[in-house]
Amino acid sequence: MNWLLVIAGAAVGAPLRYLTDRAVQSRHDSHFPWGTFAVNVAGSLALGLLTGAASAGVVGSGLTALLGTGLCGALTTYSTFSYETLRLAERGRRGTAVAYVAASLAAGLGAVFVGLTVARSLFM
């Protein structure tokens, strides 16, 4: 049953990443990959909330499979993140590449902690 929930969540998460990426890029013509940055931080925030809610016993394993493993897992991506970093570095934009890595790590981790803290204050 959890496998089907992972499939359902990912079948929404992956196209959502694609559409969000397009929407962000059409508004910001920039060398910094804002689209991927946005989905990775948003997905990390959502997973932080969900993990906090799950550890408080509010959310069960089914919802974790659907929204955490499926939706957040497929919404966020490491392959796109690393390929973008490689391309930026190859094209001589080393500063942007370093800033992209540092910002993604800091904002992604920060978003998880914010999500965890909000969920714990709400549910514990």
């Binding site: 998460g13 990426d21 890029q25 966020t76 490491y78």
Partner: protein
């Protein structure tokens, strides 16, 4: 953007001819492509979400994403982190492997003017869908946060996980892309030599 497309070229790209304004040359804006999921600098990708083809692209991305996520779920169940301070081996391998494969895929699909010769759904299915669904940033960040919160020993494992995944992923995507480029440029050479008089 104030600068002309031709003036935005980095110094490191030797593959591009000095003046490619002529007919049949790749669109200079496509050369700016950085994002493998979708890059609106590439004219074909700017247009691919429109009309009936757009819904096919979304369906293919969804199907690929589901496949990738199932593979990730299987690997992370098979190799779970052991204990509170356990290194998330499954997700680590997923992310490093997925990064090696996106390096291979993107060189095959998009470099050297091959965009036109590969199937238009190949990148959406394999790159955006399968590899995007397979690899994950949110589980990486959440596992790292759990480890950082778990006391001194776990925090050290967390730092190793954060740095190890980043180093492994960047090395893997570089190796995948560089290895594929080397194979592609070396491959046809002996054939041409044989054909020469």
């Amino acid at each position: 953007m104030s600068d002309a497309p031709g003036g935005r070229d980095g110094p490191g790209d030797a593959r591009r001819p000095p003046d490619d304004g002529g007919a049949g040359a790749p669109d200079p804006l496509a050369e700016e492509a950085v994002d493998p999921d979708v890059d609106l600098h590439v004219p074909a990708q700017r247009a691919e979400a429109a009309g009936r083809h757009g819904s096919v692209v979304l369906a293919v991305v969804a199907a690929g994403g589901a496949l990738g996520a199932v593979a990730r779920h299987a690997l992370s169940l098979w190799l779970p982190p052991r204990g509170d301070a356990g290194f998330p081996v499954g997700v680590f391998l997923v992310n490093v492997l997925g990064c090696a494969l996106i390096g291979v895929l993107m060189v095959l699909v998009s470099e050297g003017g091959r965009d036109a010769r590969t199937h238009p759904l190949l990148r959406p299915f394999l790159g955006v869908g399968v590899l995007g669904g397979f690899t994950t940033f949110s589980a990486y960040a959440a596992d790292a946060a759990r480890l950082l919160e778990g006391g001194a020993h776990a925090a050290l494992v967390g730092l190793a996980y954060i740095g190890g995944t980043l180093a492994g992923a960047l090395a893997a995507v570089w190796a995948g892309a560089a290895g594929t480029r080397a194979l592609l440029t070396r491959g046809p050479a002996p054939l041409q030599r044989r054909e020469a008089p």
